[in-house]
Amino acid sequence: MSNKNVSQETLLRVEHLCQYFKAGAFTTKAVDDVSFDIKKGEVFGLVGESGCGKTTTGRSIIKLYNITSGDVYFKGVRICAGTQKLKEELKAAKDDKTKAEIRAKIKAANNDQKNCDKEYSKKLVAECKAKYEPLLEKAVGAEKTALEKEYKDALRKARNTRLVTQIQMIFQDPIASLDPRMTVREIISEGLVIQGERDKKVIDEKVYEMLELVGLVKEHASRYPHEFSGGQRQRIGVARSIIMNPDLIIADEPVSALDVSVQAQVINLLNDLRDRFGLTILFIAHDLSVVKYFSDRIGVMYYGKMVELADSDELFAYPLHPYTRSLLSAIPLPDPVYEKARKRIVYNPLAEHDYSVDKPSFREVRPGHFVQCNEAEYQAIMKGLKQDA
């Protein structure tokens, strides 16, 4: 499914994202130096086997973890910044001038990591003040009290608004991700309430609108999650995330836990929503047929590294990295003749690559098509591509 309303504006930019987990003496490099960007209005698919760090990437972007190093820019504002690489540089640095520079960088990164939301809400508060204060001065009598109330509301909302809430997440397991002791209304409206909305009427109206949007009805609002089927629960999860008017949705395997027939319902729903609101979606999944169907661009991850990134048609037509090829060869298709003859390609990184001398890096081999490779492999790929052309 190609999308017409992909613009050239970059919504999310991830640069050298690293996420390490420490467990005693071991450090697990869950995500290691991953960079990509997502354009406004596109669906970016992230695939890979379990444990390759695709979910961690999604969770790091939404600040569920504090990232180890790298930067994440959302709408041009740095929302996540890690400092470990910088600290290492600082240790290695010799002269005072560079040291001071690096120190300044670390300070800035820490500040952004901590205060990006505060600064954003400060900006909103300032805007709000600028809008209402001149009006208030002019107004008199009953009009003034009404306006004052409105001003107070707006100010509170501005104070509570965060930049990160414009990124929302849909979780994999629709059973575990909904609080069993909250009604559907409470679940869906929770974000609004936290943001400072106090008017019950507005909340109800918005909740009903969202329920209708995802294919449920008003009456469902007062029920509890356990009264719904799997597909309906996932719809509630979707409603909860779009009520905040997000610009970016991180969908972490939203259909893996669902039945085939219901999977199609949820995919169709996400597709409709994206056409309607021009949503940008980071779609994390391991079912490649679904990813192919749904995404504009696809990134393939392997053990914390991004090994290939390309347009979805391009990736499936010309997979260049051996891991991508092995992944594509493992997709089961509903065709007995093809299936019985299908040969799986085995990927063994030790046998495929020789990185002992020349370390690999992420290189562009065709416009928009990136592969993780070293110089020798790069030459080989370019030669192969020329022959094809």
Binding site: S50, G230, A264, H286, S289, I331, P334, D335
Partner: protein, 720 residues
């Protein structure tokens, strides 16, 4: 093809507080040897319930309303729990969906793999001893009865003799077999490790393997494998081997180790192809002749022993046993004739409008005695139809009379609730709760089941009588001796911890786990998802089952691991001639695995055929919907989701259960359930669209397109 398992008219419901949920509503299928049957459907369609019924692990609130599951001539729904222990896990094994929750997190993998082997080993020993003793007792009694009291002393003596030398035989044979296996494996292991040492790429678990080689080469010492004369030499070599290996692991120079290994190999490998003496005959000679074995080549020795055995004992024993068998069979046939008459007389008692409790139970008791008398104690094959008859009849009667009472209560309760509900509605209010259906048991169904039970036993008896003339008692006597031998070997064969460990490690190797020696000692959390699933498969395969039930084994795994697991199951299926029941909702996986496919919806099989039938010529709208609702790599247009949800099975719909979600539903779909229409010899579908009077409807565009694409791909594949 040989049928392994057949399911007939199976109906299962679950008792819940809201009413009775009808999970499975009359399904039929067969499973042939070495075949894979895939059961496809949404969750709640009854596919897992069916598989659990086959394994006898249904939840406590399940009611089996009717039907039979025939495995190996037995009806699995009727046999006792004790008999099921011998089948479950041993003959029919299951791989569960979630490997993490089906493994114990705080027990090491090795323990979990060997646990069942050790327990089964002990149980088997006990059981075999029991079988052997009782059978010999029955045989002795029948012999005496057949030939008169005058011969009693001689006959008892010969049975005792048989008992004694049989155990000697098994001991001798076991010692030989262990030594032989050890020798073969030593040869293999030496070849493997020597190869690695020559390449100077020795694995981490080499120390364990060297220890194994040393142990095994000592174990292979036996008169008929590696002659005892080599004992000194082998012991010296194994010591040297360990010493040299320790040295070599420091210096990384494996030359001296290799030299020792080659010497060891030269002693052991020639032992493998030697001719084998007959230990059965030897057992008799060693026990009773009182003389040492004559020193002859093996072939001559065998002939000599055979002649000795037949002259001294066997000819007489076989004659006696044959007479005993014939006598016992004749008695059993007389009893069977009497039982058939009684069964026929009893049938009307259970067919009355309302059953009389006293009469029913009295008849049941009389029948039970008759049926018990008709069982031939000397028949080797357990006659499970007769054995299960009276308990089943009794439980059915219990069910019937209990149901009369509970039905009354349920209806009274329903009426009470209904009056309350109506009052609330009449006041124009919402009740806030739903009226649950009365939980009524169908009495006629129970009566039908009883009639079927009696018919089945009568048929079974008539079949036995018809086959009576063609029995060959001489052959059967040989069978009896084999049976006794088999049980005796079961008694002697002890599964020790080290044997179990050895077997477990081999199994882990077979399912593709690298470095099994190291992995054996790890905990489940140290394994990745795919590896864990392999462990579960290894556990399922440990008992060498006939039938493997896989309940969504790959749903929780990603594509690469999924395809590894599927390859593994397919490989094992071919190697071991397994029959597989594969439950899944992923049609891609089905295409990969299945020979035949059953599509289930709302507790019924709606389409049944070979995988080619289902994927290329599917006929049921539900199958179309499943096919068109999943994207493949060429899908571009909007997916056709199936609208709505599956029906509530407390109130199953009157007509076709799929009708409300079906775009092609006709009026009749809402009124009457469609029968299974036959499309070809292998392909059946339950939809009114196949009725001759139905309008001709083409499958949806997505399905037609996909089939066209598949055919095109096949054509282009053929050209290449």
């Amino acid at each position: 093809m040989e049928n392994k398992l057949s399911v007939r008219n199976l109906r299962i419901s679950f008792r819940t507080s809201n009413g009775k949920v009808q999970a499975v509503r009359g399904i039929n299928f067969d499973l042939a040897k070495g075949e894979t049957l895939a059961i496809v459907g949404e969750s709640g369609s009854g596919k897992s319930v069916t598989s659990k019924a086959i394994l006898g692990i249904l939840a406590g609130n399940a009611i089996i309303e009717s039907g039979e599951i025939i495995y190996d001539g037995k009806d699995l729904l009727k046999i006792s729990e004790e008999d099921f222990h011998k089948i479950r896990g041993d003959k029919i094994a299951m791989i569960f969906q979630d490997p993490m929750s089906s493994l114990n997190p705080i027990v090491r993998i090795g323990r979990q793999l060997t646990e069942a082997m050790l327990l089964k080993g002990k149980a088997r020993q006990r059981e075999c001893r029991n079988n052997f003793n009782t059978y010999l007792k029955h045989l002795n009694a029948a012999m005496i009865e057949a030939e008169g009291q005058g011969e009693a002393a001689r006959l008892t003596e010969s049975c005792k003799k048989f008992n004694k030398f049989e155990f000697k035989h098994i001991e001798l044979e076991k010692a030989y077999r262990n030594a032989h296996v050890a020798a073969v494996e030593t040869g293999d292991d030496i070849a493997k490790i020597a190869f690695e040492m020559e390449k100077n790429a020795v694995g981490k678990d080499a120390a364990d393997r060297i220890a194994d080689i040393a142990r095994q080469s000592r174990e292979s010492l036996n008169d008929y494998v590696v002659p005892m004369a080599n004992k000194q030499k082998v012991y010296a070599l194994t010591k040297a081997l360990k010493r040299e290996f320790r040295r070599a692991s420091r210096t990384k120079n494996y030359k001296p180790v290799l030299e020792v290994l080659y010497q060891l190999r030269d002693i052991i490998t020639p032992a493998i192809g030697k001719p084998v003496p007959n230990f059965f005959r030897m057992g008799y000679y060693v026990t009773f002749s009182g003389q040492p074995l004559p020193n002859k080549p093996v072939e001559e020795l065998n002939d000599f022993l055979l002649e000795y055995l037949n002259r001294e004992f066997m000819n007489q024993f076989i004659d006696d046993a044959e007479k005993a068998l014939e006598h016992s069979a004749a008695q059993s046939y007389a009893n069977i004739r009497a039982a058939i008459a009684d069964l026929k007389a009893a049938k009307p008692v259970y067919a009355r409008e309302s059953l009389d409790k006293k009469e029913c139970y009295a008849t049941q008791k009389a029948l039970a005695a008759k049926v018990k008398a008709a069982i031939d104690p000397l028949s080797i094959v357990k006659d499970s139809v007769s054995w299960t008859f009276s308990p089943t009849l009794k439980s059915d009667l219990d069910k019937y009379f209990a149901a009369i009472r509970s039905n009354k209560k349920a209806i009274a309760r329903y009426n009470r609730e209904k009056r309350r509900y109506d009052r609330i509605i009449a006041r124009g209010k919402q009740a806030g709760w739903e009226l649950a259906a009365a939980n009524v048991t169908d009495l006629n169904l129970i009566k039908e089941n009883i009639a079927q039970l009696i018919d089945r036993l009568t048929e079974h008896y008539e079949g036995m009588l018809a086959a009576a003339d063609s029995r060959n008692y001489r052959d059967e006597t040989v069978g009896v001796i084999d049976y006794l031998m088999h049980n005796a070997s079961g008694v002697v064969e002890k599964v020790t911890r080290s044997i179990a460990k050895h077997r477990a490690i081999k199994l882990m190797d077979e399912v593709g786990i690298a470095e099994p020696h190291k992995r054996y000692r790890q905990y489940p959390f140290e394994f990745s998802g795919g590896m864990r699933q392999r462990i579960v498969i290894a556990i399922a395969l440990a008992a060498n089952p006939d039938i493997l039930i896989c309940d969504e084994p790959t749903t929780a795994l990603d594509v690469t691991i999924q395809s590894q697991i599927l390859e593994l199951i397919n490989k094992l299926k071919v190697e071991r001639q397994l029959s597989v029941i594969f439950i899944t909702h992923d049609l891609g996986v089905v295409a990969n695995m299945a020979d035949r496919v059953a599509v289930m919806y709302a507790g019924k099989i709606v389409e049944y055929g070979t995988s080619m039938d289902i994927f290329y010529e599917s006929a049921h709208p539900y199958t179309w919907a499943l096919l068109s609702s999943m994207p493949d790599l060429d899908t571009d247009e909007k997916l056709e989701a199936i609208p709505g949800t599956p029906p509530n099975m407390i109130y199953p719909p009157k007509g076709d259960a799929f009708a409300p979600r079906n775009r092609y539903a006709m009026k009749i779909d809402f009124e009457r359930q469609p029968p299974m229409f036959k499309i070809s010899d292998t392909h059946y579908a339950a939809t009114w669209l196949l009725h001759p009077d139905a309008p001709k409807i083409d499958p949806p565009k997505a399905v037609v397109d996909r089939i066209a694409r598949m055919k095109a791909r096949r054509a282009s594949g053929n050209e290449q």
